[in-house]
């Protein structure tokens, strides 16, 4: 039994160009660009081979000459948003990207991935959907991942390659699951072109008035074969599961690694450490020659009598510096239990990244941070983060990221420093926030407030009574109604909180709130 997930990348070339454009725009001083045009040379002139939606809205059609397309962009638009971003369409580059995408899908979703150039992928997901929940969840995960990569895609899951591909390309929704045996129902309303037939055959069929697969199925099979060749019948059989269609799966590219096998079990810790250091040096030299750096690596020590010991290593930015890698690995290697002796040592670069092009040298003048929106980790700071994370644990070395939420506990989240810092960078609100936030809020009693509108006079908190000299507020915060979560982060079910800035007679400044529903008071922060 086979379940095929077909991924149709609707606008792969444009999406890839868009990514390149974004990357270029991050450089300081880069000119602004308004839209994307991909050109292809044809008989001595350049024709538009693909264009983005923005250009399509301005009337740029495929097949137009580049000069005409450029002229269609309004000079006022150019003045405001810049000239169009023009590139030559390179099928080879797109194919390379498709290949990389296939490798990445293989590592994440299913071991069987096949390419369907120029703009499709097949993934055999029989059995792997259970890792994600069901097929619906798997599709959602794939779509989410593709969305993060900024590549537009449509998916379909079916029993056969033909049906999945047809539904992915021509189905009504971007995500559709065809239950086993329902291929004919799902394919019926789709146009004949969905069967991957040559264009001439499609045209001939449409001249006969056969537009949809439903109509094709009603025709006599032998006559269709006699008139249009066996191709039509074969594609139909493949799509409906009556004939098997084989695809060539992509071969998995194993990560770069270096390995040493001992003659017998070795128990000397120094020898193991020396060999491990040699492996690290060897592999990082190899990677550096390919301008690659380690992002995640594992040192595998295989004892003779125990399961292999894996010592993971993860970095905040690609590095091929053996000294830096070894600094982080050494404490782990020196404290590993050797058992009856190690027989084999492997160092595997699980994830690699491209090394930034720069001159290699120790402590050279660091470049100024290029752009404020995507703050790249400075090289030295990246190394510091790695060293601290290796010793303190990665969960103890963090950075903060602003989140689009107005709840004080949720407006910031703790992330690993190497992750992207700014996500849509919500503008900081101009209401004062304390420097310490107590989570969960601490219960307190507010006394001396006569009516609901009067100012608080006395506060009892942590067993001590404070006289309140000044109270500013209230600032009313409400739990968002569009949020599914039932309560505040601390579990309170009430919707509204009135926050006050209180100043006690001894000079403390506290941030307290009252829940108007029942009048209870909590202290949530302090300015220190």
């Amino acid at each position: 039994m086979r379940r095929v997930l077909a991924i149709h990348l609707r606008s792969l070339s444009i999406d890839l160009a868009q990514r390149r454009r974004r990357r270029a725009a991050r450089r300081p001083g880069a000119p602004k660009t308004s839209c994307i045009l991909l050109a292809q040379p044809s008989h001595g002139r350049a024709l538009v081979a693909a264009r983005c939606n923005e250009a399509a809205r301005r009337g740029v059609r495929i097949g137009l000459s580049l000069a005409e397309a450029q002229a269609l962009i309004d000079p006022r638009v150019r003045a405001r948003h810049g000239d169009p971003w023009v590139e030559e369409l390179s099928e080879e580059r797109d194919l390379r990207a498709l290949h990389a995408l296939g490798q990445w899908l293989m590592a994440r979703f299913s071991p069987l991935v096949a390419l369907d150039p120029p703009d499709g992928l097949f993934v055999d997901v029989a059995g792997t959907e259970r890792l994600f929940g069901d097929e619906e969840d798997l599709c959602r995960a794939v779509l989410r991942a593709m969305h993060r990569l900024e590549i537009g895609s449509r998916l379909a899951v079916a029993d056969t390659v033909g049906a999945a591909s047809a539904v992915a390309r021509f189905g009504r929704t971007p995500r559709q699951i065809v239950p086993g045996g329902d291929e004919a129902v799902a394919l019926g309303p789709l146009p004949v072109a969905a069967l991957r037939l040559p264009e001439a055959t499609c045209d001939a069929l449409s001249e006969l008035g056969v537009e949809s697969i439903q109509e094709l199925l009603r025709l006599d099979r032998d006559r269709v074969a006699a008139r249009f060749g066996g191709d039509v019948a074969m594609r139909l059989d493949q799509a409906l599961g009556r004939a098997f269609e084989s695809v060539t799966p992509l071969a998995f590219e194993s990560p770069p690694q270096a390995e040493r096998v001992f003659e017998g079990p070795v128990r000397q810790a120094e020898a193991i450490a020396q060999v491990a250091e040699e492996l690290v040096t060897e592999l990082s030299g190899e990677l550096e020659r390919a301008r690659q750096g380690v992002l995640e690596a594992t040192l595998v020590l295989e004892p003779s009598d125990l399961p292999p010991r894996r010592l993971p290593l993860s970095l905040s930015r690609p590095s091929a510096d053996p000294r830096h890698l070894w600094t982080m690995l050494r404490p782990a290697v020196e404290s590993v239990h050797l058992g009856f002796g190690i027989e084999r040592v492997r160092f595997v670069a699980v994830r690699t990244g491209r090394l930034p092009a720069r001159q290699v040298g120790a402590w050279e003048q660091p470049e100024p941070a290029s752009s404020p929106t995507s703050q790249p980790l400075d090289r030295h700071v990246g190394e510091l983060v790695d060293i601290l994370a290796a010793r303190l644990g990665p969960e103890n070395v963090l950075a903060a990221r602003a989140e689009p939420s107005h709840l004080p506990e949720r407006s910031y989240s703790w992330i690993r420093p190497q992750e992207h810092r700014s996500r849509g960078a919500s503008k900081p609100r101009h209401m004062p926030r304390p420097s310490l936030l107590f989570s969960p809020p601490e219960p307190a009693t507010l006394e001396g407030s006569g009516g609901p509108g009067s100012r608080p006079a006395r506060l009892r908190w942590r067993g001590i009574a404070y006289r309140i000299r000044k109270a500013r507020g209230p600032e009313r915060l409400a739990r968002p109604w569009w949020d599914d979560s039932p309560a505040w982060p601390d579990g309170s079910p009430h919707t509204v909180r009135d926050y006050y800035r209180l100043e006690t007679s001894c000079g403390r400044s506290l941030w307290a709130f009252r829940e108007p529903k029942h009048g209870r008071t909590f202290v949530q922060g302090e300015w220190t």
Binding site: D378, V381, H430, C506, G507, W527
Partner: protein, 301 residues
């Protein structure tokens, strides 16, 4: 064992250069041509300027800030357990340091070590300064007491809004990045790991300011941190509990922070300069004005 040639070479080096405790930095390499970070508070800049020659807190030195004790029945409660570090003052200084470094194109990351000194990100995200509104520098009195009035949440007045503090139109200015984007937060498990973390962070050339929980550090530890800070030129800010004011330390300046309620429209603090080490050499006469009677009695270390 060092070879005789090696020893000869070492001796040559020693003869050639003066024996300084720490190597002087090449500003070309490290990008710290001005060695002090102006605090932005005129009276503090005035006092430190008269002490060390450069207004503000000197880079490559350890500065200790004694926090405010908590309320409690016992002295221990007040001094060591329930204390709170002066986070807004430290955040202000770290912001000034990052701003100062970024305006010169130097790396400008700030690291906060110890969960106690992790501020709520919302408080340091807004591009505001703490403003000195009321300053009384009693130069004639025995203590040089400065009152710094803080107004959290309001935007900085234009004269303070240089680089990072202004939301100017030039988004590509490297100095115009909030402190929160440049901050890393580390939480060591125990005191010895904390010392190691501060030391490692201080030696990293990409770090411009280290804000750390400095409770329980002795003379040897602060000396080690002082040496680490000198090696990279980072600004080291230690928050210490008020009960440790009597501990000896190698810090260059020590400040006591107290609450001052009811001064203006927000929380307010006073900062008292307890010790300024460099002042001894440059302005011996001023030292009396910048030291508390308690420190004078002990003789400065």
């Amino acid at each position: 064992m060092r070879s005789p040639q090696g020893i000869e070479a070492l001796l040559e080096q020693l003869r050639a250069g003066p024996l300084t405790g720490a190597p002087e930095h090449d500003p070309e390499v490290f990008g710290h041509p001005s060695r002090a970070v102006p605090s932005g508070w005129p009276s503090i800049d005035r006092v430190t300027g008269s002490a060390s020659g450069a207004p503000g807190l000197v880079r490559g030195c350890v500065h200790e800030w004694f926090g405010v004790g908590g309320p409690g029945p016992t002295r221990r409660d007040r001094g060591v357990r329930g204390w709170s570090p002066p986070l807004l003052i430290l955040a202000h200084l770290a912001r000034r340091a990052a701003c100062d470094a970024a305006s010169r194109g130097a790396p400008a990351s700030v690291i906060w070590i110890g969960r106690r000194v992790w501020p709520y990100p919302g408080a340091i995200a807004r591009r505001t300064n703490t403003v000195e509104s009321l300053a009384t520098a009693n130069a004639g009195a025995s203590t040089g007491e400065l009152e710094v009035h803080l107004e959290p949440g309001t935007d900085a007045p234009p004269e303070h809004s240089s680089g990072m503090t202004s939301e100017g139109p030039d988004a590509h200015d490297p100095a115009n990045v909030g402190l929160i984007e440049r901050s890393i937060f580390a939480a060591p498990r125990d005191a010895s790991l904390r010392l190691w973390t501060i030391d490692t962070a201080l030696r990293c050339p990409g770090i411009t300011a280290v804000v750390a929980d400095g409770s329980g550090l002795g003379m040897a530890a602060t000396r080690r941190l002082q040496l680490a800070a000198t090696s990279s030129g980072a600004l080291a800010l230690l928050a210490r509990p008020p009960g440790e004011e009597r501990e000896v330390s190698a810090a260059t300046t020590r400040w006591r922070v107290g609450r001052r309620g009811g001064v203006g429209d927000g929380p307010a603090w006073s900062a008292t300069l307890l010790r300024a080490k460099g002042a001894q050499l440059l302005h011996r006469s001023r030292i009396a004005a910048t030291r508390s009677p308690h420190e004078r009695r002990r003789g400065a270390g």
